[in-house]
Symmetry: C2
Subunit: 307 residues, 2 copies
């Protein structure tokens, strides 16, 4: 079964209004919740990552989902399944790495069990108090598209690790311990008057643009030259890395022009805007000499081909 089929099967059985955004927004409790797992040899390899880095990334990917919702990250639970032959200091180093990215968030529970490989499942809970919460359905014509960091570094870093290429520490670091920040999310959630649509680029920039445009039934126009990236990825197929490379965990947001005026421009890069209503051809990218339209189908094929 393909992932989309599986999600449809689940959606049919549980008929949930909550599945769609990265976090579930539980209005009656004033919280958002997200749960993401990392599996050894699927999401990380002990060949490339230290226990500290695995701990860091397990927490970072979940906090990033909370940031993308606009909520204030508050609590974490960690479920850790470890093989018998695990190194003695794994738990200590894992938790030290986890702790290094918490930024005030508290670890409040979870469990430890045995397993054949390392399985890590983390749940993060955020408070929605005094905050406006994101939805992918919230992008409207005239909204600006902004992001808060470089795209393509993580996928380039993974390539470098897999091909044992020396140098380029920053790219490798962005893959193993991606820098995440709640700064842009905090200010958006606390100051915007209008609804906004925000995601993190866990599955790549194009995935964010696609899902926001598709759920909002609008077309996003992106100016490729405005997308921030680390120049050292130009040695690779960098246009692909920037659009389709995953695991950068940067925020991508469609926000009203009015609300954007109140946000310090040091906190974001403006990369495009929402230009019209549509049910297809949902992303348009202006390269130097060329305007290219991407249909839902184009993007879906590429998202699956690349990762």
């Amino acid at each position: 079964m393909k992932e989309l089929e599986i999600i449809n099967t689940i959606q049919n059985i549980i008929n949930s209004e909550y599945i769609g955004d990265d976090c579930a927004y539980l209005k009656d409790l004033g919280i958002v919740v997200t749960q993401d797992s990392l599996v050894e040899d699927v999401h990380f390899s002990r060949k490339f990552s230290t226990p500290y880095q695995i701990g860091y990334k397990s927490i970072a990917v979940n906090l990033s989902d909370i940031y993308a919702s606009g909520a204030e990250a508050k609590y974490i639970t960690i479920s850790l399944s470890l093989p018998k032959n695990i190194e003695n200091n794994f738990v200590e180093e894992f938790y030290n790495g986890a702790k290094s990215v918490l930024n005030g968030v508290k670890i409040v529970g979870g469990d430890i069990t045995g397993a054949d490989k390392i399985y890590i499942s983390v749940t993060a809970i955020g408070s929605t108090k005094n905050r406006k919460i994101s939805s992918r359905k919230n992008a409207h014509i005239g909204y600006k598209i902004i992001t808060n960091g470089y795209h393509g570094s993580s996928a380039a870093g993974l390539y470098l690790l897999q091909n044992k290429t020396e140098g380029y520490e920053q790219l490798i670091k962005e893959h193993l311990t991606p820098f995440i920040s709640s700064e842009l999310s905090d200010i958006i959630a606390k100051t915007t008057k209008n609804d906004y649509a925000m995601m993190d680029s866990s599955d790549g920039l194009m995935d964010c643009l696609y899902k926001i445009a598709d759920n909002s039934k609008v077309k996003a126009k992106i100016y490729f030259d405005k997308i921030p990236y680390n120049k050292s990825i130009e040695q690779f197929d960098y246009k692909n890395l920037i659009l389709y490379g995953g695991e950068d965990y940067k925020l991508v947001c469609a926000i009203s022009a009015d609300d954007l005026e109140n946000i310090n421009s040091d906190l974001y890069y403006e990369i495009g805007e929402i230009i019209e209503k549509t049910d297809n051809n949902i992303v348009e990218i202006q390269y130097k000499n060329e305007l290219k339209s991407y249909s839902k189908k184009d993007i879906e094929v590429n998202l699956f081909r690349h990762f």
Copy 2:
């Protein structure tokens, strides 16, 4: 590393006030949260359990923790990691099993990833609104000890499955799809005037008595003949199964005699009481002709020897 050492390591690093009860009580958000994982060939086997039963049990063990806290179970997220060779209907049957035990709780998120074996991690969230929440530290002299179901059935059921013994469907059912109920928990959390200490018997009845007594620094006296159990386990070493057999997921509660008077006696079995303050010899069991004292060390050795 042993489980206790690992927990101490984690506790030292994160220095959390929340680790101790099965659920973390997040007072500022008015919620409790718990996360428990089930790993194939550690917690269940596809030889014994259908996908439906695995789905049921994954949810039941987490709801049981919420019930033990006194909170109202509200939301679930499910992280499911599946091997490539998984049967086509696994996800559908798993979710049907999960759905069958939800009892109004909503599944609101999670993820699906690949893995070598089935790995399931479930997070459950409960609301503490208008409820008094349990703590293991809350047992006091004179409190009554009550439970809401049979002990020892699940471990007997596991033995029967492992030894391919026919018959005894009820015991096997209690292992594969343990009956859980929030009824006693709801009434305690909503009506008690005094604090109470409640746990579920996921790790056995003795584990509950031990942890409540140890954390409250009191001695629990139990009348063995009053412990409810399925008579068909008498063919086995049933005293051990009743005390140390895990996975029955029944509630065990130390509650003030005054508060107990307001609770319908159909909802519980009274099995003992808290008799004195102590730092050791924390459980005393009255058998027919014999009174036996159990120190912390006796119990710890037995808990680890048995499971």
